[in-house]
């Protein structure tokens, strides 16, 4: 049988070499510190994770990460926004037109999205409660299994 193991690192880590495991560990520590300090509590980060989260669904920390992202993006922004127009000569007229349309629609969109925001907030709260309950239940079950295992081993 022809087999060849390739799992050993290609180089031995010495003074000149970089141990990628150690480097990644250091980076993970930095990320953990910054996460705790709220550095990544940012809508931009939450939106960046939208495709990535699909890859992490089997991950142990998936729900924590998912909820962290959800908390950032759950409120729909219903505030006024800058109305701009890039079409050169017509820009002033188009901006006035868009502002007029926005004034007419503002009340209705506000009503619609404020209701949506209430729904989103309730859904988020429900998921968070379920997550906390599941964690508590799993932790309780683990403790019971450990206690039973100790009992069996005598």
């Amino acid at each position: 049988m022809t087999t060849e193991r390739q799992t050993a690192p290609a180089i031995s880590i010495g003074a000149d070499g970089i141990d990628v495991h150690a480097l990644v560990e250091r980076i993970l520590d930095t990320v953990a510190d910054k996460r705790a300090a709220g550095v990544y509590d940012d809508e931009v980060v939450a939106r960046a994770e939208r495709n990535n989260l699909l890859l992490l669904q089997d991950d142990a920390q998936f729900m924590e990460q998912y909820l962290a992202c959800l908390r950032q993006i759950v409120p729909v922004d219903i505030n006024d926004f800058d109305i701009v127009e890039r079409r050169g000569a017509l820009a002033p007229v188009l901006v006035r037109l868009k502002k007029a349309i926005w004034k007419l629609l503002k009340f209705y969109t506000y009503r619609l999205w404020s209701q949506q925001n209430q729904t989103n907030a309730v859904l988020l709260a429900a998921i968070e409660i379920m997550q906390r309950r599941h964690k508590a239940e799993i932790s309780e079950l683990n403790e019971r299994v450990e206690a039973l295992e100790k009992l069996v081993k005598g």
Binding site: M1, T2, T3, I11, V20, I27, A48, R50
Partner: protein
């Protein structure tokens, strides 16, 4: 030894997939080792339609004999329906699995040629795992088959009809250790005569780090991705992460893309993306050499050649931690870092940008690894041992 290499399509540079390129490399290596080689392929050139676009026949090429056989007629609609069911994770009955294999690419004349024994082959090399043709070849001459499966951890790799076809064959030519471990997880109790990790040889090259910037005028720091752009390759994640990186850090880091496929760009990122499409090998290497990092967020690879090329171009890589093989390549070589979330990506890219010394050392470690493991002579020696085992 007389060797048949069975490839669904004949290798033409830039037009076939990685598995077909790998099979052609095996065929060339077999010729270099002094064996008589027949390359058996179908008349198809398009992997979506599998239509017979070339005439059947026999001709010589690169020191081997190419024998081209017609593809069987197929019900594409039926195939697509079963393929979709599989993709959804639905379990197919045994009959449906066989139907899925039958309606995929097949060539009864090719399989009959092998079964007849007229070729007098001592070894039959084929792959990748998910073609009906490959399963039929394994069933026809199991004691001669060395399969280069190019396994990915995906739903198609769990089709039992394929496992049964592969269980009795002579052996496997894996690309990596994780691929071999995956094969054992998929098919418990697997015990072939030959189980070799061979992969593909890469000719070493030297390339200027500044040639790309001189030629294109792109002077901003950039990351690069080469290959097909699609969801399965993680391209949307790369786009999302780089867009977020630019917005959060305010740093003008660009993205250079080579290869094919459409990519949806947010307006804020579009001006910083340079889509070069298909480029020559030289241009690709120059682009790799000038990059801060090669970013490969795919989680379904059996071996990434572009990552190896990137190291030869002295550029470190960033890969997704969920990509078992890519992470293994980085761990084995100490030539790259892996990330599982945006914050990790942000920290790692910043490290490579701000600490060129570390980036250069990682890249050099990767290069040394490629020169040692994937030098054509080293690969050919592993291939020779697998053939003779």
């Amino acid at each position: 030894m007389k060797i048949a290499v069975v490839s669904a399509r004949l290798h033409e540079a830039g037009t076939v997939g990685g598995a077909e390129t790998l099979l052609y490399a095996f065929a060339l290596d077999a010729v270099r080792l002094g064996h008589e080689v027949d390359l058996l392929c179908t008349c198809a050139t398009d992997h979506r339609t599998w239509e017979n676009s070339q005439p059947p026949g026999v001709f010589a090429r690169d020191g081997m004999t190419v024998r081209r056989f017609p593809v069987d007629s197929r019900d594409i609609g039926r195939f697509a329906r079963l393929q979709i069911d599989l993709s959804r994770g639905w379990r197919l009955s045994r009959d449906e699995q066989e139907e899925w294999l039958r309606q995929g690419v097949n060539s009864t004349p090719l399989v009959e040629w092998l079964r007849s024994g007229k070729g007098g082959y001592d070894r039959v090399i084929t792959g990748p795992y998910l073609f009906g043709l490959v399963a039929e070849v394994c069933r026809a001459v199991p004691d001669k088959v060395l399969l280069a499966p190019c396994f990915h951890d995906e739903v198609f790799a769990r089709v039992e009809a394929l496992h049964d076809a592969f269980r009795g064959i002579r052996g496997f030519l894996f690309n990596t250790d994780p691929e071999r471990e995956l094969a054992h997880r998929l098919m418990p109790g697997l015990s072939p005569k030959v189980e070799a990790v061979v992969a593909m040889g890469i000719e070493p090259f030297e390339v200027s780090k500044t040639a790309f910037a001189r030629r294109t005028g792109i002077t901003a720091p950039y990351v690069i991705y080469s290959g097909r752009r699609e969801e399965g390759k993680g391209t949307p994640i790369l786009i999302d992460f780089l867009n977020a990186y630019r917005r959060r850090t305010g740093r003008d880091v660009h993205l250079v893309l080579t290869g094919s496929g459409d990519v949806a760009l947010p307006p804020s990122l579009a001006p910083a993306v340079h889509d070069l499409g298909f480029v020559s090998e030289e241009e690709k290497r120059e682009a790799m050499a000038g990059a801060v990092a090669f970013v490969h967020p795919s989680v379904n690879e059996s071996l990434s050649i572009v990552v190896l090329e990137s190291w030869l171009a002295r550029t470190p890589v960033l890969v997704h931690a969920k990509g078992v093989v890519l992470k293994w390549q980085c761990e084995s070589s100490c030539g790259g870092l892996w990330f599982k979330s945006y914050p990790e990506f942000e920290e790692e890219l910043t490290t490579l940008l701000d600490d060129p010394g570390t980036a250069a050392k990682l890249a050099e470690q990767g290069r040394r690894y490629v020169l040692r493991r994937y030098a054509p002579d080293a690969v050919r020696e592993r291939f020779r041992a697998a053939l003779e085992a």
